[in-house]
Amino acid sequence: MISIADKIATMWPEITLFIGTCIVMVLGLSSKLVMRKACSPVAGLSLIIAGLLALQNDDAVGVMPYLMPYAKALIAGVGLLLLMLLAGTVDRDQEMRIAGGAAFNPLSSTRAEFYAFFLFSLTGLMLCTGAEDLIWLFLALELTSLPTYIMVTISTSRSRGQEAGIKYFFLGALGAAIFLYGFALLYGGTGTTNLVEMQTQFAQGQINTIAMLGLILSVIGVSFKIAAVPMHFYTADVYQGAAAPVSAFLAFVPKAAGFFAIMLLVSTVGWNQGVAGGLPEPLHATLWMMAVATMTLGNVLALLQHSVKRMLAYSSIAHSGYMLVGVIAGPGETGSGSLGFVGNGLAAVLFYLFSYGVMNLGVFAVVACLEKTGDSGERVEAEQVGDLQGLIRTKPLLAVVLTICAFSLLGLPPMLGFFGKLPLFTSGIRAGEIPLVVILGLNSAIAAFYYLRLVKAAIIDEPAPNAEPLVSTPFGARTLAAGLSAAGVVVFIVLAGPVMRSSERAAVVRDVSALEVHDLADGQNAVPVAVND
């Protein structure tokens, strides 16, 4: 166990974010517009500094020793894009009234808190990546998700936001109760909350039933965050009810936290405990069924949607299912016979998180950029697929962004999403999960239907004759976020190499077998036996 001083040395990014949070909380309450507007630059600055600090750090910590630099830099990067997208989500009415001459009333402003929640949540996400202990992991997960409940609720003044908030919060609490019970049993089955000790203990002997039950309960509970079946129910309602930028936030931040947590938890048992290698059978069966159900359910329900946000919610479920394939496949052997990145399921998940974060954000950004006039004269998001018809004629940039990102989400070569999905396939094959890979392939084919529907609406269809004209939101930052994510999808086709390399390094799981070999060598002074072949 490392000392607290060493631990703090790995936490500078989080500390930076927290300092940023404190500054933002104060700035947002200022009566000066310029100070209030400084909230997001300050948040962005703290994210940039946190990202840079994360890259500096290279201490090996926990069961996935090198996860932190990659994951934190990824969080900071996608966080920056999300920050741009979140511009103007709250306080729009109030700022308009102030612009119209009303006095600033700090009691009705939520800008400070909104950005603070944003940073709190990212802080929690970063803390997840460095978790060495169940207690730490539990708190980090809660810190990640609690602010998102409030963000959803206050993101729009419409009652749908509150409905989304209540569903998200209550079901989230239920999920938290489940994984907390799992953590308790995991502690009970091993006698320790420390993940490294737990891993060593698992590697030494049979896995206790209580520990296995705890592990499975934890994974199922945490899968609420990644919106996997059976914890997926909230997803569509919440994504639809929240404002589009917040939905984009939900599609990345809790999902990333969930995957980090699941990877850390599953790493403790490792991928060589099954009868024929791989995960232990009960855990394998659970994850397998979850993966299959998740990707299938997400895709088939997405087919039926007319709301872009709902469709993206279900597709987000499906993408979680894809990523679970990587978790099932595991990191693969090291040493000879290793396939490296293409055989490493965890690296595939980490890389997919990156590509999914970028490309999914692009589509949400397009929705966030568009508004139409609602029934009672107020502006509402243009979230129906039908609203996007003929987008290429009115907003060509957004239409191109939508097309690129949708193709990428579809996994069409040579888009980034293709390179994200490829290692999931290859690692699945490497792990011998052929049925799973076939289902994954079929699901990718199903996904073509609804992503192409988006593209068709935007590029091919004519706008309906009596359609409300679409208006851009007056936030350049949102358009910038859209453009940047589309550019990211294209640029990282070529630049994917370094990211893949880092994700492969980040996917290293602490090697317990080496310890055992070492112990054996000490114990019985093994002599190599000539094998007659």
Binding site: F138, A164, F169, A177, L180, T193
Partner: protein
Amino acid sequence: MMQTLAQAAYPQAMHDVTLYHYLFVSAGMFVLGLIGFLTRRNMIVMFLCTEMMFQASGLALIAFSRFYLHHTGQAFVIFVLTVAAAEAAMALALVVLLYRKHSSLDGLLFAELRG
């Protein structure tokens, strides 16, 4: 009093059969909380039920902590209490907000988003 209350004189090891009794009660509390969450429509009571599920975890943690004769589980419970308090604060604020709007605490009022 303390010595009579305590199952086996601390720090002697606790038998695993005894541990099982506590775990059974803990599982029972968890399940009761779950049933309450599924059947009660009053949002405050629903949240009370999640608190009960948290308490079930707490009881299991303390029992294991006693079994292993160390105190990590007890420390865990402190954090569970903290998080439960934080969640309760936010949940109650949310519920009050919704009550002011709808004058009802019925969790089934919210079914506009579906499909």
